[in-house]
């Protein structure tokens, strides 16, 4: 066999060994799929179901057990968290605003540095700063109701009375997420303008419109795409002369799909 073939066969065998070991030598763990927002039927829930929801969130979406587990020891165990809360509220190191156990547990999730259990602070902060993220934001993003469900679960886990009242609304996070899902995306800019009733305030292209906002019929001749994108997303950033500040809603960034925003900007830029 020529050296070339020998080298090729050798390299193939090495790669095959690594691939084989990765496929058959280590367990093939199927990672959990990206979390999906579940619609919470809060009105029909009993307190036991609410506690069970909290447990599910604690072990799943909330990713709490990643650190709060007996193996890694990276964060304190929470099986007595509610029972210990009263003591911590009176601790001079406590920096939060909670007055009772329920609020303390809630606060510990959204402002974890309010009280850091000794030995579990960020390195070099002398236990004044917690390494735990805010569970209501970032990748965890628990809604108000979900945070309360976790509090209920922690109270139940500690064997104290569950004082949490089941909220009637899901909370800001799920509401914000739910909005775009309820509306099918507009097919073109005209449809979008009609859906959002932009002509109630603006004259746009050939369409007649109200005088409350600036005339946009030839806006593309003077403003570029970046300016227009900003004007839609943050209308108070630049207010045209002669028009009042704060009249245009500032939440279109939450209401529009990204594609719709770009479609609208492109449409306006073309108005010359």
């Amino acid at each position: 066999m020529s050296n070339f073939l020998k080298v090729v066969v050798f390299s193939l065998l090495v790669i095959a060994f690594f691939a084989g070991f990765s496929n058959f030598g280590v367990p093939q763990i199927e990672p959990a799929p990206p979390p999906k927002e579940e619609k919470l039927e809060l009105g029909a829930m009993t307190i036991d179901q609410f506690v069970a929801l909290g447990k599910k969130l604690f072990e799943g979406k909330g990713t709490c057990t990643l650190c709060h587990n007996p193996v890694g020891g990276r964060a304190p165990l929470l099986d007595r968290a509610a029972a210990a809360a009263a003591e911590r509220l009176n601790d001079p190191r406590y920096k939060g605003k909670a007055k009772n156990v329920e609020d303390y547990l809630y606060e510990s999730m959204v402002a974890p540095s309010a009280y850091v259990v000794s030995g579990f602070g960020k390195a070099g902060t002398n236990d004044t700063e917690s390494p735990m993220p805010d569970a209501s934001s970032g990748s965890i993003r628990l809604s108000e109701a979900e945070l309360r469900a976790v509090v209920a679960y922690l109270q139940d886990l500690s064997g104290v009375e569950v004082t949490v009242k089941i909220p009637t609304e899901v909370g800001t996070e799920q509401k914000a997420e739910a909005k775009p899902a309820q509306r099918p995306p507009a097919k073109n800019a005209e449809e979008l303008i009609a859906q959002f009733a932009c002509t109630a305030c603006h004259k746009i292209g050939a369409q007649p419109g109200g005088p409350i906002g600036p005339d946009l019929s030839k806006i593309g001749a003077t403003k570029d795409a970046e300016y227009l994108r900003r004007a839609i997303l943050d209308p108070n950033a630049d207010v045209a002369k002669g028009f009042a500040r704060g009249l245009m809603p500032a939440n279109y960034g939450e209401q529009l799909y990204a594609r719709e925003l770009e479609m609208l900007v492109a449409y306006l830029v073309a108005l010359k």
């Binding site: 080298v7 090495v14 496929n23 093939q28 763990i29 990672p31 650190c67 990276r74 990748s139 950033a237």
Partner: protein, 608 residues
């Protein structure tokens, strides 16, 4: 080389830095859209003019029948990275070898450096082609992500493109001017070009690193992904420098291993003893480069991991204790392969020396310790078991092997592996020499004491912190262990260098007297490095899980799931095969230019 002569290199380099700072000043300036009306300018300066990160649905990801967008981008990115790592690394050690040649006035170093750069020059265009392919794939399959990143990094992307011209110009001048810029001031000019080439190449890599690290640890944006306009903040994100350091070191190790494979192939095909001697020396030098960078690489990796934990404990745990935990067992197999093949090559290379018999007896002990350390690193902490197995074992941890699975045990293992590889190298260096200094006994005693004390310290630190302290302090031993290992490397090299100054040679070193199987150790090193880079690229990118940009820009594509290790390994293997095929092509092309075919009777005879 006179010390003052270095100014000839440093002055142009400082000029380059000054030019870079002029450009950099613009790059660092806040990036705010200019308001159309002067009255609104102040408002515009306060209010950033950038859109939030888009919220996408699966319909926002274009699909092409028969092509998986994620795999296409993955392979293009990985292939681009392999070639880029190679072409950025080779000029680093070519510069060093050229400087050694100038210092020693030994032309063999100059020829060797030229041969190294010749191998990389063909790979340069392939790097650019693959970079273009990656760009097209990103725009085709992930248009919103690319648009979002381009909105934030538009300035640095322009500089990136312009720096490519600089990189190409300097590289071509450096390569094609090699034989022209010889002797005296011209040689200094050439060396300076090498330095400029490295400065530009490294800057290019750092710019690209900023984009990928921004996706992991975004900075300069708010929670909704709205860019503040501060480009430097986005570039200088939490993981930028750790990745920069890790990639520079890893690139050198990788580049050394690929050039080593080239030398090994040429050695196997060499027709004469002279050729064999030349390619043996080239292979040895390449292996030396690879090992020199391989030794500090685990420390760079540790620093990166520590910074990942500091940025996001969740991300850190996901990597080391979560779904990617088993990946580090695969990594252990690969690193073990790298250390064993590099050491095996050194041990085989001792055959070049007639004096090596004095040390042959020690090799088996070195092998036992390195294999033992590899097995400790390879031991998993938790085992995936059936219920029956779980009952029989009494839990997920094995009574004796379980303690070897935790990080302190791995730290002891990797430091031990590095210390014993250093010992291997010292032995190799000594093989053909007999020291003549009067303090040989004292020097050897000092070295023995240094190694013994260092190893004991590494063991004590790991055992004490790992098994007798709170979990939070389990990895506290890492830094003193690393410092111990570095101390051993530096001090032993210094003592040994002085001890063997003016040493007698047992017999002339016989380059070329090395078995063919040693060349396969070099191939193993290159293939394992390639595959390892692919695997670690997967985890670096995979840590974001279902986020394009961690926590602010969600991946809503049908491929947002994290693949299993087997799936990832298959993609990496396919990529490694394509890479190796292209590398073979590059090696072949680099030889073709030297071939001349006498086409008798083809050309018209010249008129007399």
């Amino acid at each position: 080389m006179k010390t003052g002569s270095w100014s000839k290199v440093w002055i142009p380099w400082l000029l380059l830095v000054a030019v870079a700072m002029l450009f950099g000043a613009d790059l660092l300036a806040p990036d705010v859209a200019i308001a159309a009306e002067p009255a609104a300018a102040a408002e515009a300066a306060k209010a950033p003019a950038f859109p939030p990160a888009p919220k996408l649905s699966a319909a926002d990801y274009p699909q092409i029948a028969g092509v998986n967008g994620r795999v296409a981008v993955w392979l293009a990115a990985q292939l681009h990275l392999w070639f880029a790592a190679f072409v950025l690394a080779v000029p680093i050690f070519v510069f060093v070898i050229e400087a050694i040649g100038m210092a020693t006035r030994d032309e063999r170093y100059d020829s060797l450096a030229y041969e190294f750069i010749k191998v990389s020059i063909t790979a340069y265009s392939l790097t650019a082609i693959l970079g273009g392919l990656l760009l097209f794939f990103l725009i085709i399959f992930y248009p919103h992500l690319f648009q979002y990143l381009a909105t934030i990094f538009r300035k640095s992307m322009i500089y990136y493109a312009l720096l490519f011209f600089a990189e190409s110009g300097v590289l071509y001048l450096y390569y094609y001017g090699w034989h022209w810029l010889q002797g005296g001031f011209r040689k200094w000019m050439h060396l300076t070009l090498g330095l400029v080439l490295n400065a530009v190449g490294t800057t290019l890599m750092f710019l690209a690193n900023a984009w990928v690290t921004f996706m992991m640890s975004p900075a300069g944006v708010d929670a909704a992904g709205v860019f503040s306009g501060d480009t430097w903040a986005a570039i200088h994100n939490a993981l930028w420098n750790p990745i920069n350091i890790h990639r520079v070191v890893a690139n050198v190790a990788f580049g050394g291993s690929i050039v080593g494979a080239y030398a090994a192939y040429r050695f196997l095909n060499a027709g004469t003893a002279e050729q064999k001697a030349h390619y043996d020396w080239m292979g040895y030098t390449a292996n030396f480069v690879a090992i020199s960078a391989l030794l500090p690489l685990p420390f760079a990796g540790y620093y990166l991991t520590a910074e990942i934990y500091a940025y996001s404990q969740q991300m850190g745990i996901t990597s080391m204790g979560g779904i990617f935990a088993w990946l580090f067992i695969i990594q252990a197999v690969l690193i073990g392969t790298l250390f064993l093949s590099a050491n095996y090559y050194l041990w085989c290379g001792m055959g070049r020396s007639d004096g090596a018999v004095r040390y042959n007896g020690y090799v088996k002990y070195l092998a036992i310790v390195i294999v033992g350390a590899f097995l400790v690193w390879f031991t998993p902490h938790t085992l995936v078991l059936t219920n029956e197995e779980l009952k029989a074992l009494g839990g997920p941890y094995h009574k004796f092997l379980g303690p070897l699975g935790i990080m302190p045990a791995k730290n002891i293992a990797v430091n031990t592996m590095i210390v014993f590889t250093t010992l291997s190298f010292l032995m190799y260096r000594r093989a053909n020499k007999i020291p003549t200094v009067s303090w040989v006994k004292a020097g050897n005693a000092a070295l023995a004491g240094l190694f013994a004390a260092g190893i004991l310290n590494i063991l004590f630190l790991g055992v004490y912190h790992g098994y007798f302290t709170n979990t939070v302090y389990k990895v506290a031993s890492s830094i003193p262990q690393v410092l111990t290992t570095l101390t051993i490397i530096v001090v032993s090299t210094v003592i040994d260098t002085f001890m063997y100054r003016g040493a007698k040679e047992v017999a002339p070193l016989r380059w070329g007297r090395v078995p063919d199987r040693a060349q396969y150790a070099l191939f193993l090193l290159a293939v394992a490095f390639t595959w390892l880079m692919g695997l670690m690229g997967y985890i670096r990118s995979g840590l974001r899980q279902h986020w394009h940009v961690t926590d602010i820009f969600r991946d809503a594509s049908p491929d947002a799931f994290t693949p299993t290790l087997g799936y990832a390994a298959n993609v990496v293997s396919v990529g490694a095969l394509i890479f190796m095929a292209l590398v073979i092509f590059v090696f072949w092309v680099s030889q073709v230019s030297a071939r001349h075919t006498a086409a008798a009777g083809y050309w018209k005879a010249e008129a007399a």
